[in-house]
C-alpha cells in the first residue's frame, strides 16, 4: 500500500462545509416534530422519492470525486524525504482507474473492437492496407471479435445483472428492515404491504427505481472493464469516465453556488425587511443594481477579469488542478452574485410581513433586541423559502453551466463538465459516419440529473409551501396526481 497525501481543494472544502450544514439541519429537524412534518410529506411523495433515489446515486459519485489525494513517488536513492506526485487524483479516479488508464488513440464507438476510421496499417507480411485498426484495449481479449463479441457481451451483462440482483436483494431487505423497525411491525408485514403498494411511504417505487439503476449499472461496470461501453472521444478517452467526472462539476455548481450566496441573501434580506427605512433603501438599491446587469454578461465580464488576474499571478496558480479548481470556485461565486438578488427580494418581502405579526411584536414588547428577534423568531419562519429556492435553483444552475462553458466563460477547459463535453462533441456530428456517443452520454446523464432535481424540487416545494392549495384540486379524484406536479409558482421560482 503506497502512502497517499490527502488534498483538500477549495471546492472540496466548501462541499464538506455544505455537508456539515445539511447534517446540522437534519439533526435540528429530527428532534422537532413541527419541522419534521413537511419532510414526512416529501417522504410520502412517490415522484419525490424516486427522484431522491436517482439523486442519491449522483451525489454518491460526486462525493467520491471530492476525496482528492496525491500519490507518493518512489523515493530517490540517497534522499530520505517523501516526494508526492504532482497529479491530484480522487477516490473516483482510483475506483475507475481502468477507465482512466485505458486510453485509445481516437474515436471508437460504444462496445467497438475496431477504431472508428480507417488507418494505414502495415500487415505482418509487410504490405500496407487501409482498414479499421484493432483497439488497444476495447475488446482486446477477443481472438475473433466478429464471432465472439456478441456472446462475450451477453455473458458479461448477465454476470453484471446477477451481481446487481444480489445487491438489490440486500438493499431491499435493508430498507424494508429499517421501515419495519421504525414502525415496530414485522418484516413480513412491511414487505407484503410494500409489495401491494399499501404503505404510506413509496417503498415499492423506490425499490423499483433502485432495481432499474442497479440493472443498468451492474452490467455497465462489468463490461466497462473490457470494452468502452460509451465509446471513446477524439483523444481516445473513455466517455463513461468523462461522464462520471462531469457529475461532480455539475453538483458543485448546483450546490456550492447556493452556499456562497446564502449568507448575503439571508442577512441583507432579513435586515431590509426588518429595519426598513434607509437600511431597506440601500439594500434595495444594491440588489436592483446587481440584477439589472444581464447575468451572462456580468459573468462573462467577471470571468474575463479573473483570467487576467490569474495570468498575472502564475506563482499562486501553479498546477492545472489548482487553476481549474479556482476557476470553478470563482464561477460559483459569480453565479451566486447574479442569483442572490431573487432570494433576497423574496426574504425581504416575507420579513416585512412577519415583522407585523403578533409573535414578533410580543418578542419586541418583551424587550428582545432586533438581532435576537431576527435570529430566533424571523429566521426560522423564512427557512422554507430558502430551502425551496435552493432546490429549485439547483437544476437551472446545472443547465447554466453547459451554456456558460459553450460561451467560453464556464469552467476551465481542463475540467470535465457536461458543458465541455457538449462543446467538444457538437462539432463531431458533422463527421461521417456520425460520432453520436459523447453527445448522447452527456444528454442522457444531464437529463437524468436535471429531471430528478426538478421532480424532487417540486415535491419539496409542495410539502414546504404553506400556501393553501386551490379548492378544486382537493375535490378532484386526480388530486394526488395533479397536486404532485403542481408547477412553479411565481413567488417561489
Amino acid at each position: 500500500m503506497m502512502p497517499i497525501l490527502p488534498v483538500i481543494l477549495w471546492t472540496d472544502a466548501l462541499v464538506f462545509a455544505l455537508l456539515g450544514c445539511v447534517a446540522a439541519f437534519v439533526w435540528l429537524t429530527v428532534s422537532r416534530e413541527h419541522l419534521r412534518a413537511p419532510w414526512r410529506k416529501v417522504a410520502r411523495s412517490t415522484s419525490g422519492m424516486v427522484a431522491a433515489t436517482v439523486l442519491a446515486c449522483f451525489v454518491a459519485v460526486g462525493l467520491l470525486d471530492c476525496l482528492h489525494y496525491r500519490k507518493a513517488l518512489l523515493p530517490e536513492p540517497g534522499k530520505a524525504e517523501q516526494r508526492w506526485s504532482p497529479e491530484v487524483l480522487s477516490a473516483l479516479d482510483a475506483l475507475a482507474a481502468p477507465l482512466r488508464q485505458r486510453q485509445e488513440r481516437t474515436f471508437s464507438a460504444p462496445f467497438a473492437v475496431h477504431g472508428h476510421s480507417k488507418e494505414s496499417i502495415t500487415r505482418p507480411d509487410g504490405t500496407m492496407a487501409r482498414e479499421y485498426p484493432r483497439l488497444k484495449h476495447g475488446g482486446a481479449h477477443l481472438q475473433d471479435p466478429a464471432r465472439e463479441r456478441g456472446a462475450d457481451i451477453a455473458a458479461g451483462a448477465s454476470r453484471g445483472a446477477a451481481a446487481a440482483a444480489l445487491a438489490w436483494v440486500m438493499l431491499a431487505s435493508l430498507l424494508t428492515g429499517v421501515v419495519a423497525a421504525a414502525r415496530g411491525s414485522s418484516f413480513a408485514a412491511v414487505s407484503g404491504a410494500a409489495w401491494r403498494g399499501e404503505l404510506d411511504v413509496p417503498l415499492r417505487a423506490v425499490l423499483l427505481t433502485a432495481a432499474v439503476i442497479l440493472l443498468v449499472a451492474g452490467p455497465l461496470i462489468v463490461l466497462s472493464g473490457r470494452y468502452h461501453v460509451f465509446g471513446t472521444d477524439k483523444v481516445g478517452q473513455d466517455v463513461l469516465y468523462l461522464t462520471l467526472k462531469s457529475i461532480r462539476t455539475g453538483l458543485v455548481i448546483g450546490t456550492v453556488t447556493t452556499l456562497v450566496m446564502l449568507p448575503f441573501a439571508l442577512a441583507l434580506g432579513l435586515m431590509a425587511g426588518y429595519f426598513k427605512g434607509w437600511v431597506d433603501d440601500i439594500i434595495q438599491y444594491l440588489y436592483t443594481t446587481l440584477s439589472s446587469i444581464p447575468g451572462v454578461l456580468l459573468i462573462a465580464a467577471a470571468v474575463l477579469m479573473m483570467q487576467v488576474y490569474m495570468d498575472a499571478r502564475p506563482e499562486t496558480f501553479d498546477s492545472v488542478t489548482r487553476r481549474a479548481d479556482f476557476r470553478l470556485l470563482f464561477l460559483c461565486v459569480i453565479l451566486g452574485v447574479t442569483s442572490w438578488t431573487g432570494l433576497c427580494r423574496l426574504l425581504r418581502g416575507e420579513t416585512l410581513k412577519l415583522r407585523e405579526l403578533e409573535f414578533v411584536q410580543a418578542a419586541r414588547a418583551f424587550g428582545l433586541g432586533p438581532w435576537r428577534i431576527l435570529a430566533r423568531h424571523v429566521l426560522p419562519n423564512v427557512l422554507h423559502i430558502v430551502i425551496i429556492s435552493t432546490v429549485l435553483g439547483f437544476s437551472s444552475l446545472v443547465l447554466a453551466e453547459a451554456v456558460l462553458s459553450y460561451v467560453g466563460v464556464g469552467v476551465d477547459p481542463a475540467m470535465n463538465s457536461f458543458g465541455t463535453m457538449i462543446n467538444a462533441a457538437r462539432l463531431e456530428l458533422a463527421r461521417e459516419p456520425v460520432v453520436w456517443w459523447s453527445l448522447g452520454a452527456a444528454f442522457g446523464c444531464m437529463l437524468l440529473l436535471v429531471l430528478a432535481a426538478n421532480l424532487f424540487a417540486d415535491a419539496v416545494r409542495d410539502a414546504l409551501d404553506p400556501r393553501v392549495r386551490a379548492d378544486f384540486l382537493r375535490a378532484s379524484p386526480w388530486r394526488q396526481l395533479a397536486a404532485r406536479t403542481r408547477p412553479a409558482t411565481k413567488a417561489s421560482s
Binding site: 446587469i293 465580464a301 474575463l304 437544476s395 453547459a402 457538437r426 456530428l429 444528454f443 395533479a482
Partner: protein, 326 residues
C-alpha cells in the same frame, strides 16, 4: 401619469450610475491595464515597449481617476474613468480593442438581425405558450393536464444546447429542410430564420407553459370565479371572459420587462446559427477578450433592462385599473 413616469425615470439614474461604477471597478481596479495588455499580447516574452504601445493606442496610459498633469477641466476628463466609463452615458462606446472598429456603429448594424430572430420568437411564443397553458388549465386535474405537465417538466430538463444541436442535425442535415446556419440581407433572410425561431420556440416551451398554467390555476381559485360559476355562466365564458383576462395581468407585466432586451439577441442561438447579431458580437468579443466591447454590452444590457422595468411599471398601470399613480 407624467409625473409618475418622470419619477420612475429619475429613479433609474442612480441604478445606471451604480452599474457604471461596478463595471468600472471590475475592469480597471481588479486588474491594471498592464495585466490586460500582457494577456492580450500573449503572456511570454512581452516587452515593456509593446505594453506601453498597446496602452497608448487604446488610451489606457492615462491616470485612472485624476490627471494632475493636464490643465483645467481636462484634469477630470483626460482620464480612463471619464473616457471609458462616463462617456457610456452618452452611448459613446469608443473603439473595439481587437479590430479598432467603432462599437456604436457595429451595435446599430447588428440590432436588426438580432431582432429578426428574437421578435418572432417572443410573439409566437407568447401566443403558443399561453394557449397551451390555457388548454392545460381547462382540462385541469385530468390525465391530459397531467401529461402536459410531465411534457413540460421533461422539456425544461433538457439543456437548450441539445435543442439547437438536435434541430440542426435533424432538420438541416438529415431532412435538408432549412440551411444549417447563416444569414442574408433583407427579405431573403426568412429561410435562415425558420430553424432558429422554431428551435427557440421548442426550447422555451416547457418552462413558460408551466408558469402560465400556474398563473391560470391561481386565478381560477379566486372568489370571483366561484361567483361567476354560481351565477350560472358556462365554463367557456368563465375561462375566456374572466380568468383569461385577469390572468393576462401577471403574464403581460411579467413579459414586458424582456421586450427591450430583445435587441440583445441570444448569445448561444446566434453563435450556433451564425446570425450576425449582438449575441454573436458579444461571444466574439468574449473569445477575443475584447474588454471594450464586453464593457459596452454590459452597460447597454443594463440600460435596456431598466427601460424594461419602467415599461413594466407603466404596463401595470395601463392594464390593471386597480393600480393608481401615487
Amino acid at each position: 401619469m407624467l409625473g409618475y413616469l418622470a419619477r420612475r425615470l429619475l429613479y433609474a439614474i442612480p441604478i445606471l450610475v451604480g452599474v457604471n461604477l461596478l463595471t468600472f471597478a471590475l475592469f480597471f481596479v481588479v486588474n491594471t491595464p498592464d495585466d490586460m495588455a500582457r494577456m492580450q499580447l500573449g503572456m511570454k516574452r512581452v516587452t515593456p515597449e509593446a505594453i506601453e504601445r498597446w496602452k497608448r493606442e487604446r488610451g489606457y496610459d492615462r491616470p485612472v481617476l485624476w490627471n494632475g498633469a493636464a490643465h483645467g477641466a481636462a484634469k477630470a476628463t483626460d482620464t480612463i474613468f471619464f473616457d471609458h466609463s462616463v462617456k457610456l452615458f452618452a452611448f459613446e462606446f469608443g473603439k473595439a480593442e481587437s479590430d479598432g472598429r467603432d462599437i456604436r456603429e457595429e451595435i446599430c448594424r447588428r440590432m436588426g438581425p438580432s431582432l429578426a430572430i428574437a421578435l418572432p420568437v417572443f410573439l409566437v411564443g407568447l401566443a403558443a405558450y399561453v394557449s397551451f397553458a390555457l388548454l392545460m388549465a381547462l382540462f385541469r386535474a385530468t390525465t391530459l393536464d397531467f401529461a402536459g405537465v410531465v411534457l413540460c417538466v421533461v422539456a425544461m430538463s433538457i439543456s437548450g444546447m441539445f435543442y439547437i444541436i438536435g434541430g440542426q442535425y435533424l432538420v438541416s442535415k438529415l431532412w435538408n429542410l432549412a440551411p444549417i446556419s447563416g444569414f442574408a440581407e433583407g427579405l431573403a433572410a426568412w429561410r435562415f430564420m425558420l430553424l432558429p425561431v422554431a428551435v427557440a420556440l421548442v426550447a422555451g416551451f416547457g418552462e413558460s407553459s408551466r408558469w402560465y398554467r400556474t398563473i391560470f390555476l391561481e386565478e381560477m381559485g379566486r372568489d370571483y370565479v366561484r361567483t361567476a360559476r354560481a351565477r350560472g355562466l358556462s365554463e367557456a365564458r368563465v375561462m375566456f371572459r374572466h380568468v383569461l383576462r385577469n390572468a393576462l395581468i401577471p403574464i403581460l407585466t411579467g413579459v414586458v420587462v424582456v421586450i427591450p432586451s430583445l435587441f440583445l439577441g441570444s448569445l448561444v442561438m446566434e453563435s450556433f446559427f451564425g446570425i450576425p447579431g449582438l449575441g454573436s458580437y458579444t461571444i466574439d468579443a468574449i473569445n477575443a477578450q475584447d474588454f471594450a466591447v464586453v464593457r459596452s454590452m454590459v452597460f447597454l444590457g443594463s440600460v435596456l433592462y431598466i427601460v424594461g422595468l419602467v415599461l413594466t411599471d407603466l404596463s401595470y398601470t395601463l392594464v390593471d385599473p386597480r393600480i393608481r399613480f401615487e
